[in-house]
């Protein structure tokens, strides 16, 4: 299993579909901290799954001016349905074609399974990774690590 990118590394740029006709590039968010949350798949059979949880915590992330991006290998249509179903208020990016390309760059792709790790990255306003964490796929990592990393970002 490749290791995920570690603090101090320049965050690899990417440009991924966020809706069927719109793309979002990491570089567009330069100037604000960014939280990247790679996750295995859109629909999982629990309430309060990782994305639904982050959705509730969004106001806390915003206090640090941080943008949250969810990334999985699911396609835009699937993301659209998931967003509607969970009332998500942040973008989900489709790492769909070439599949998992962005996740691979971050060391967050599970080749044996064909989907993303549950991996978190906090990137500072200049585009450098300041914190990263990989959780076992079955364990929702919560948000305590993210909040602590945001708190420790240089102002």
């Amino acid at each position: 299993m490749p290791d995920i990118l570690t603090p101090g590394t320049k965050a690899p740029d990417f440009s991924l579909h966020v809706t069927p006709d719109q793309k979002l590039a990491l570089s567009e968010l330069r100037g604000n901290p960014v939280i990247l949350a790679f996750y295995p798949a859109d629909f999982s059979p629990v309430c309060g799954d990782q994305m639904a949880l982050y959705n509730e915590i969004l106001p806390e992330f915003k206090k640090y001016g941080a943008e949250l991006l969810g990334i999985s290998v699911d396609g835009v249509w699937c993301h659209e349905e998931f967003t509607k179903n969970r009332h998500l208020h942040f973008p989900l990016l489709a790492d769909f074609e070439p599949k998992g390309d962005t996740a691979r760059k971050y060391g967050a792709y599970r080749h044996e399974d064909g989907f993303c790790e549950r991996a978190l990255f906090v990137i500072d306003k200049n585009g450098t990774i300041r914190w990263s964490y990989r959780s076992p796929v079955a364990v929702n990592p919560g948000a305590d690590g993210i909040l602590q990393a945001l708190e420790e970002l240089p102002k």
């Binding site: 629990v46 309430c47 309060g48 639904a52 949880l53 009332h87 998500l88 919560g142 305590d144």
Partner: protein
């Protein structure tokens, strides 16, 4: 492993002996079916351990997916202000399929709490900050869904059927 960041204080809703060797904290959402499932299990667990266990319930309403969860949590806090927290907590879980405003008011009535006062408290969001404090403390502690349990301050990652919880609690009691 995620650790509880907000210690138990007298502001908490506590059942059992405060000097008990085992502390079980649940971060829960009244409208979450998994919390509804856990409700009778926790009761059995409490009975099983007796005065060896202290149980604490804290609010973690997932408002985007459970539209009545926040109101239910605030209604329970209203009851707490009138020393009736646990009765309201139990009634809410026992009526989980309908947590509309009329039902919450009805539950208050059966506990002989003032219906107009509860209505006003909910309209004024009088207990919202209390619920929010619980929620944020939970987030800081690594609550990752509902219910999330902490056993003597450590997050319990794993199933929460009766046998699972008893085993996890026993392991910490020694």
């Amino acid at each position: 492993m995620s650790k509880l960041k907000v210690p138990v204080t007298s502001d908490d809703h506590i059942q059992g002996d405060k000097r008990a060797p085992i502390t079980l904290i649940e971060y829960g959402d009244y409208e979450c079916p998994h919390c509804g499932h856990a409700y009778p299990i926790v009761k059995r667990v409490q009975k099983h351990f007796g005065d060896r266990l202290m149980f604490i319930f804290r609010n973690f309403p997932l408002r985007e997916i459970h539209p009545n969860a926040e109101n239910a949590a605030e209604a329970a806090e209203f009851a707490a202000a009138h020393e009736r927290f646990w009765e309201m907590h139990d009634k809410i879980f026992e009526n989980q399929s309908d947590l509309s405003l009329p039902m919450l008011l009805e539950l208050a009535k059966t506990l002989r709490l003032s219906v107009p006062d509860l209505r006003n408290a909910l309209t004024a969001r009088q207990y919202a900050s209390r619920v929010r404090d619980d929620f944020l403390g939970g987030v800081r502690s690594g609550v990752n869904g509902t219910p999330t349990f902490f056993i003597n301050g450590d997050r319990h990652d794993g199933p929460f059927e009766f046998e699972d919880l008893v085993a996890a609690l026993e392991a910490r009691a020694e």
